[in-house]
Symmetry: C2
Subunit: 194 residues, 2 copies
DNA sequence: AAGACCAGACAGACCTGTCTGTATTATCTC
DNA sequence: GAGATAATACAGACAGGTCTGTCTGGTCTT
């Protein structure tokens, strides 16, 4: 019995897809292993052969989701980028698409960090690292919009994005994307002008 | 035996204080009734006499917390208000105080909404209502800062505040308060100038 | 024969909510 | 004052379910 069988296995992929879906929709604490294996059509032993514990599965699910989130924004921005050449605008348009997508329930990483509560949990650590990478992407957009690097602008835009996500999920509305976009563009215009 | 004994009872107050503390620190799902009654020094029957179910206790705890949050911001802003007459500045200073306070773990209302997951849960509904009231407070600050009412500014500042809270709890840093303050002031200045 | 998988029992802990029974205190009646 | 009544709170057993994680055994494919 291999401790961690083939990395690219059908069962493993089914587990990850199912766990991602359930964890995002109902929360990592609310969904139990039994639910995951039932809906993935997998034996419990198989799950534990691939993921030593539920905590490991949670982290693997976050990693799995990061890939799909990046992919979503890449294609959505490309789609919007045809009309709006400004990448920052295209990003907020993609953000709004996300808010309006069925089953939207906010940022899976923030949700996981909130649920795990313990900052030392591997999942919480992963979320911090992910947010660093996310901020790096924002930084690229801001630099493209403002011309030069601007140390103070990126954190502000990142905060606007986080706030928009939280507001959208609480109020079940996509309006926050427009509000955040206008605020970000105003800040960019201010940084360029002054 | 009254179903809901005296509204102002010592046991009831102990339950609320304890539940508020535990729920905020570890999450409403992670903390069980047994923990609450043990740390509150209360019999289980007493808890269920005051609160018909855990869900009811959660909502009561949120209500209880709203009072203390309002009180915190009122006094903190008053303290800062002596130096900075600008109420918006005083608010962000208070926000930073909160971020730096021991045991800070973000917004209890957002956390609860994330954990409950279901938008129809009474707790989630309470959170939505609370955020409406919170936005009303922000609106007062913005109106005071910009002179006249400004429909587009308040939602942007509210989003900055939400984003700052989330960023602060994820990165365990109070810097987000300063970033959000500067961004809010820039937006206000832009609204006044243009 | 070996690796990967499925099915499901099992242990031990924890969950919410109900129930029995007792102690304490305040109030009302005589 | 003395006794009765009712409200409140205590302690803790209990039911029925769920949780994670382990284990046994069978199946299928290569």
């Amino acid at each position: 019995m291999g401790r961690t069988p083939a990395a690219a296995s059908e069962a493993r992929q089914r587990i990850l897809d199912t766990a991602d879906r359930l964890f995002y929709a109902e929360g990592v604490r609310a969904v139990g292993i039994d639910r995951v294996i039932a809906e993935a059509g997998v034996a419990k032993a198989t799950l534990y052969a691939h993921f030593p514990s539920k905590d490991d599965l949670i982290v693997a699910t976050l990693r799995h989701r990061e890939a799909s989130v990046s992919e979503f924004f890449r294609t959505a921005m490309e789609r919007h980028g045809r009309r709006t050449r400004d990448k920052l605008r295209a990003f907020f348009a993609a953000l709004k698409d996300w808010f309006q997508s069925p089953g939207f329930r906010g940022c899976a990483f923030i949700n996981a960090a909130v649920e795990l509560a313990d900052p030392g949990h591997p999942g919480s650590q992963y979320v911090r690292d992910y947010k660093e990478r996310f901020r790096g992407m924002i930084d690229g957009l801001v630099e493209g919009a403002v011309g030069t690097a601007h140390a103070k602008l990126t954190p502000a835009v990142a905060i606007l994005v986080e706030g928009a996500v939280v507001t959208a999920v609480i109020h079940q509305s996509a309006d926050a994307a427009d509000v955040a976009r206008d605020a970000a563009l105003a800040l960019v215009a201010g940084a360029k002008g002054g």
